[in-house]
């Protein structure tokens, strides 16, 4: 009798422990990290200011800062690309072969990350705003490789430039239930002297993404 009570208690404790550790490492049924849900950037949306720019790119960034970002593509309802984020929510929809990131703003659009094992293919879009993204799982971390960018997006609101040689590697992981961490490595041999790495934390958005069309409120486009 005593033994059976002890056994039952051990079983109950084990179940609780398993549940709490599951909360710490959210996983999909097939054992990958579960990235799905609504997310907002926790800290600044801007990148650190110590990017190892080559002189030409540094000059361009300084010009953009000096003219108060008057040519900001976001002002014209153009896409933010992959590195630049807004403080509005993003929503990740995860399936085994495809991950879709929905953005509320700046453009109410989407980005697709292909997990079906395909190689990069730039035939259709050699230079696009969001590039060509392929991903693979390293354990519970999603590694996304993106190339095929144009040189028109800004890396953040301050106008940090990049060239069409931009290559972005993102590592998505869930350190715990309340956080999504993305480590970005930016390579750009034309604009940077060496690869640059920084990390950005996202926290749950706690609301559904809303409809928001830049063009509707913007007097500079579509008229």
């Amino acid at each position: 009798m005593r033994w059976s009570i002890l056994l039952a208690l051990t079983w109950a404790a084990g179940t609780l422990l398993a549940q709490s550790s599951a909360q710490y490492l959210p996983l999909t049924p097939d054992g990958k990290g579960d990235l799905s849900g609504g997310w907002v950037v926790r800290d600044s949306t801007n990148l650190p200011d110590d990017l190892p720019y080559r002189p030409e790119a540094l000059k361009l960034w300084q010009e953009r800062k000096a003219d108060l970002a008057k040519d900001d593509p976001a002002t014209y309802c153009l896409p933010n690309g992959v590195v630049r984020v807004t403080s509005l929510p993003y929503k990740i929809v995860q399936t085994p072969k495809l991950i879709v990131i929905l953005s509320e703003g700046n453009t109410h659009s989407f980005r697709r990350i292909f997990l079906d094992g395909r190689a990069h293919n730039l035939d259709l879009e050699p230079n696009s705003w969001t590039g060509d993204s392929i991903g693979k799982w390293e354990g519970t971390t999603l590694v996304v490789d993106t190339i095929g960018f144009n040189d028109r997006t800004w890396l953040d609101d301050t106008g940090k430039p990049h060239s069409d040689q931009l290559h972005v590697i993102e590592r998505y992981r869930r350190p715990d239930a309340g956080r999504l961490e993305v480590q970005y490595t930016i390579e750009d041999p034309k604009d940077l002297t060496r690869p640059y790495t920084f990390t950005r934390a996202f926290v749950p958005a706690n609301r559904e993404i809303q409809e928001r069309f830049c063009t509707e409120q913007n007097h500079l486009v579509g008229k």
């Binding site: 014209y76 309802c77 153009l78 896409p79 929809v93 995860q94 399936t95 495809l98 879709v100 929905l102 453009t107 109410h108 659009s109 989407f110 697709r112 293919n121 259709l124 879009e125 696009s128 705003w129 969001t130 993404i209 409809e211 069309f213 830049c214 063009t215 509707e216 486009v221 579509g222 008229k223």
Partner: protein
């Protein structure tokens, strides 16, 4: 990338108008009649069934539901369908919009096409047990979310371009119910209007691997005196990926949207 189907369509419409005018010297009154005969490409009644998509079995999700996921070619209306029965104001407005070469079409100004407007571009369906996503290549590169995990509509505080969509399964058919619309978008290039009373029901049935049947019922007592029923089909695109269509990048359509 920016394609300019609309520009071509308008040039074609303008060319056919010029041709008919050349044949028949017209008074202003006649001109309206002549232009009234020009069916804008968006409203053109199809003469034949679109070619069928690839054959094969319907894929299924782990939960046994049909999997609608895939890249689909723009929805095309089946031939010989009943035209809508409009209230007088809507009939008048549609004629005005058509005769003004669709110059005020919000879609051509990079605003959403709304529901259930069909575009000539691809769209991708991404299905999870709780959500069906519709990703549009164009006219604007945006998306619609159809929630499969609740049976009640959320309370809408601000009218929406794509509305508030919930879906449930009726056998192998996904039934999507959408309300909460604004009255800004047009149903097609002809300019068929609607009010905020709009209620759209869509029935998505993947007939086989490559063919998606879409039955649409438009209910809007403020605009149409009876429900407008439309049958469409989409075929699976197996050859090419969806491109990144950025309407605001180079909207050359705007230059053509001069009206009369």
């Amino acid at each position: 990338m920016k394609k300019n189907y609309l520009g071509w369509a308008i040039s074609l419409a303008a060319a056919s108008l010029l041709l008919s005018l050349a044949r028949t010297p017209a008074t202003a009154q006649d001109q309206i009649k002549v232009t009234g005969k020009i069916v804008p490409p968006g409203a053109a009644a199809p003469k034949a069934l679109p070619p069928a998509g690839p054959k094969g079995p319907v894929p299924h999700m782990a939960d046994g539901k049909p999997d609608l996921s895939g890249i689909w070619n723009g929805q095309r209306a089946l031939p010989n369908q009943e035209p809508p029965v409009m209230l007088p104001w809507a009939e008048k407005l549609t004629a005005e919009r058509t005769n003004n070469y669709s110059a005020d079409d919000p879609e051509a100004r990079c605003l959403p096409g709304g529901v259930p407007r069909a575009a000539p571009y691809h769209y991708q369906l991404v299905q999870t047990p709780k959500l069906l996503l519709m990703l549009f290549e164009g006219n604007i590169h945006s998306y619609r979310q159809m929630f499969l995990d609740r049976s009640e509509h959320l309370k809408i505080t601000e009218p929406l371009w794509y509305g508030e969509s919930i879906g449930s399964w009726d056998g192998d058919t996904l039934v999507v119910d959408t309300v909460g619309f604004n009255d800004k978008f047009w149903f097609d290039m002809a300019g068929h209007p609607h009010t905020t009373q709009l209620h759209v029901m869509e029935r998505y049935h993947r007939r086989d691997f490559g063919n998606l049947d879409i039955g649409i019922t438009i209910v809007d007592p403020g605009t149409y005196s009876k429900p407008w029923v439309i049958q469409r089909v989409s075929t699976l695109e197996t050859g090419i990926e969806m491109s990144e269509y950025v309407c605001n990048e180079n909207n050359s359509d705007v230059l053509h949207l001069v009206g009369k």
